[in-house]
């Protein structure tokens, strides 16, 4: 296949024809001028594999991840690697992590792992690390510096109180909107490591930070929160172009803070927030929320999905592949802001499901 037909195929996978037509045709040249070889990588996140008993796992979560894996394996051109964005397990059990590692082994591309709070809080990431290695690390790929953080740590005093009660510790952390859930943080030790890591990175080098929590203080009520995000941003501020991709939120978010562009990854399992009638409670939505187009709860995982990222151009492009929904794309516009031009306009939205 020529580069052209490859690229066309690639674009068609992830986005409507309208969005594809907006993409720069000088994709490759721009990238070469900046010393970045064009490449893509895929992000899968928040599979929440949950063990019922023995070899029995929640079917819907399994199938959400299986589908994402099967679809990623179809991408043309193939992604250079796949990031798993955390919360592979639901209750943090070794069986769940083993099961997830086995499912992910079907991916044809190598996998880079990020730890999530559901993976971490039962045994402080012990089983996870045995399978997937360090909880924070960096690597370089085709001119881009990748940094993986454990952004689901919390303060030592809170941890000490639960040191002998691992299951209660997990339960206290994973309930969204639960009083007493501790705020996540990157923490002093990891920030010191990050500062050290960045010392050898040149200012124009594109940086991609992979994190489970948003690395922003978005909404404490749902723990979409990183307590020391200002300090992390300060470390990243000197660089020309920083992209943060995070999981955790199970919804599509994008934003920009100075030189840092943020994108969320969707969950392969279920979308959040839940419809009010399912949650059995009035939910307070953060301002600026656009109700998600989760039109039909009959289709398990409707609104869940995964995404792949094109870093080839100056504009970072994220393609969201959503189950049972039109694919969406978020592309950094001429002002440097990430934008979903189709869905941000009210006319482009699918009315949200109000009941369950």
């Amino acid at each position: 296949m020529t580069i052209d037909s490859n690229r066309r195929a690639f674009l068609r996978h992830g986005t409507a024809a309208v969005a594809a037509a907006l993409l720069p045709v000088t994709l490759v040249d721009v990238a070469q001028a900046r010393g970045v070889e064009p490449f893509t990588f895929a992000v899968l996140s928040d599979a929440h594999l949950q063990q019922m008993r023995g070899a029995e796992f929640v079917r819907s979560w399994d199938r959400g991840l299986r589908r994402a894996i099967a679809e990623v394996n179809l991408l043309t051109p193939a992604p250079d690697f796949v990031v798993f964005g955390g919360d592979l397990a639901h209750a943090g059990r070794r069986d769940e992590l083993d099961h997830g590692a086995e499912l992910l082994s079907a991916l044809r591309a190598p996998v880079r792992h990020v730890v999530g709070e559901h993976d971490y809080y039962l045994d402080l990431g012990n089983a996870w690390s045995q399978l997937f290695g360090a909880q924070w690390y960096s690597f370089d790929h085709k001119g881009v510096h990748f940094i993986v953080l454990n952004s689901v740590l919390t303060d030592a005093a809170w941890m000490d109180a639960y040191s002998a009660r691992p299951r209660e510790r997990m339960e206290a952390v994973i309930g969204l909107g639960q009083a007493g859930a501790p705020a996540f943080q990157v923490g002093d030790a990891q920030r010191a490591w990050l500062a050290q890591d960045l010392r050898v990175v040149s200012k124009p080098t594109p940086i991609v930070v992979l994190s489970h929590a948003p690395l922003q203080r978005l909404y404490r009520g749902w723990n979409f929160w990183t307590e020391d995000s200002d300090a992390v941003h300060a470390l990243l501020r000197p660089f020309d172009r920083v992209t943060v991709i995070y999981g955790h939120v199970h919804q599509l978010q994008y934003s920009r803070v100075g030189n840092i562009t943020f994108f969320s990854a969707m969950s392969t399992a279920w979308p959040y927030p839940y419809p009010e009638s399912y949650a059995q409670a009035v939910d307070v939505l953060p301002t600026l929320s656009i109700p998600e187009n989760r039109a039909d709860p009959f289709f398990e995982r409707d609104g869940a999905g995964w995404q792949f990222i094109n870093l080839a151009s100056v504009k970072t492009e994220l393609y969201y592949n959503l189950y049972n929904n039109p694919a969406r794309s978020v592309i950094v516009n001429a002002h440097g802001d990430p934008e979903d031009t189709t869905y941000a306009a009210a006319a482009g939205r699918v009315p949200s499901q109000q009941h369950y």
Binding site: M1, S5, A9, S60, R63, R67, T76, F299, D302, N324
Partner: protein
């Protein structure tokens, strides 16, 4: 009462349910069906219906002179070619798809199993030139014939006020679509029970089956039933696990080859009917969205009992096989591996044997009086 045998001998019986209205005629929808949507640029007229029917049944528009639209959509078989699994065109060449019924086709939003035609008019132009259907090299012979045959000349003049030299594919497509738009079949035992309150119209088993259809069976989420009418389709595309297994192992190569071929301008209609592998990509061949891999249009369930076999490839022979397939979560046998691409709406249902039997009884209650005399699908164990 409309019956295929009457219809075959006396097409004028059709006029009985055409009511005159301003700028064309209104077609009265039978019990259980909504008003017929008619495009503004193609109003229904009696002469156009008659012309469309003549075109529909005329085998001269095929390469061999032996195949017409009605070969695969035979009125006496509820507008299908039951019991063929996949349709046969010129020289008995087989396609890849089971012929869907044209009964109530007026209500469908996209045509063909993969929705590659946007309406009936658009759909009608494709089979003439598909190598495994009517097999013409191009559409010139169709136009030549209708411009010279005296009957057609007269009817086109009356229907469209056009002289022979002005007749083109547009008029032919509009006439065929108009005829198809009048193929309305409701008034089934279910309709009389549900929409007319006739308590005795439905057997006890079928009534229990209706409950399964609406609740534990999860059927009506796609095969929709509305308060005032029932089309039994959501007009959407879903991968329910049929056909995808045949290509899943080699899917990466198949879909990549398809995208390359499509970028080079391949003819979609010819490809999907002649290539068993790209045919199984389903809606993906049009949308190229990963979510549509192996997804096919939800067919109506009206008259389903008389139109075996089932699914887009005719791979299931009986209604019992169909309900078992859904009960197993998208596989023929409960122990078969489920495709990774199956829609999130499909999952094991764990219905009881009685529920499954009741469900079949319900499906058998959806037959319109016109087709009540036709043989039904053999019941499985």
């Amino acid at each position: 009462m409309w019956r295929p045998d009457l219809y075959l001998n006396r097409p004028s019986i059709l006029l009985a349910w055409l009511l005159s209205g301003a700028g064309g005629v209104c077609v009265a929808a039978p019990l259980g069906l909504p008003p017929v949507p008619v495009p503004a640029d193609n109003p229904i007229t009696e002469i156009k219906v008659a012309l469309g029917e003549k075109l529909f049944r005329d085998p001269r528009f095929s390469r061999t002179g032996a195949v017409s639209c009605s070969t695969c959509h035979e009125p006496a078989k509820a507008f299908t070619d039951s019991p063929l699994e996949t349709s046969e065109g010129v020289n008995h060449l087989s396609g890849t798809r089971n012929a869907p019924t044209l009964a109530n086709v007026a209500y469908f939003k996209q045509m063909f199993w993969d929705g590659r035609a946007r309406d009936l008019e658009d759909q009608s132009r494709h089979p003439f030139v598909n190598p495994v259907e009517m097999g013409l090299a191009d559409r010139a012979p169709i136009i030549a014939l209708v411009r010279t045959d005296p009957d057609y000349v007269r009817m086109f003049r009356e229907a469209f006020s056009k002289e022979p030299a002005e007749i083109g594919m547009q008029e032919i497509m509009k006439a065929i679509a108009t005829f198809e738009r009048t193929l309305l079949f409701g008034d089934s035992p279910f309709d009389r029970w549900y929409y007319s309150g006739e308590r005795g119209a439905l057997s006890e088993a079928a009534q229990r089956g209706f409950k399964v259809f609406m609740e534990d069976g999860r059927c009506q989420s796609c095969h929709t039933i509305e308060p005032a009418y029932a089309l039994f389709t959501d007009n959407r595309f879903h991968n329910i696990g049929v056909g995808i297994q045949r290509v899943e192992r080699d899917l990466s190569r198949i879909q990549s080859a398809w995208l390359t071929a499509r970028a080079r301008g391949i003819n979609v209609d010819k490809s999907v009917l002649s290539s068993g592998t790209s045919a199984e990509l389903g809606r993906f061949v049009i949308s190229e969205a990963l979510d549509d891999i192996g997804a096919f249009k939800t067919p109506t369930l009206r008259n389903v009992a008389v139109t075996p076999p089932y699914m887009h490839d005719g791979s299931l022979q009986t209604l019992r096989e169909v309900v078992d397939f859904y009960d197993h979560g998208g596989v023929p046998d409960a122990t078969d591996p489920v495709s990774d691409f199956v829609s999130g709406g499909i999952r094991p249902l764990h219905l009881t044997d009685e529920q499954l039997a009741d469900l079949v009884a319900f499906l058998e209650s959806l037959t319109s009086p016109a087709f009540a005399g036709l043989a039904t699908a053999t019941k499985g164990p």
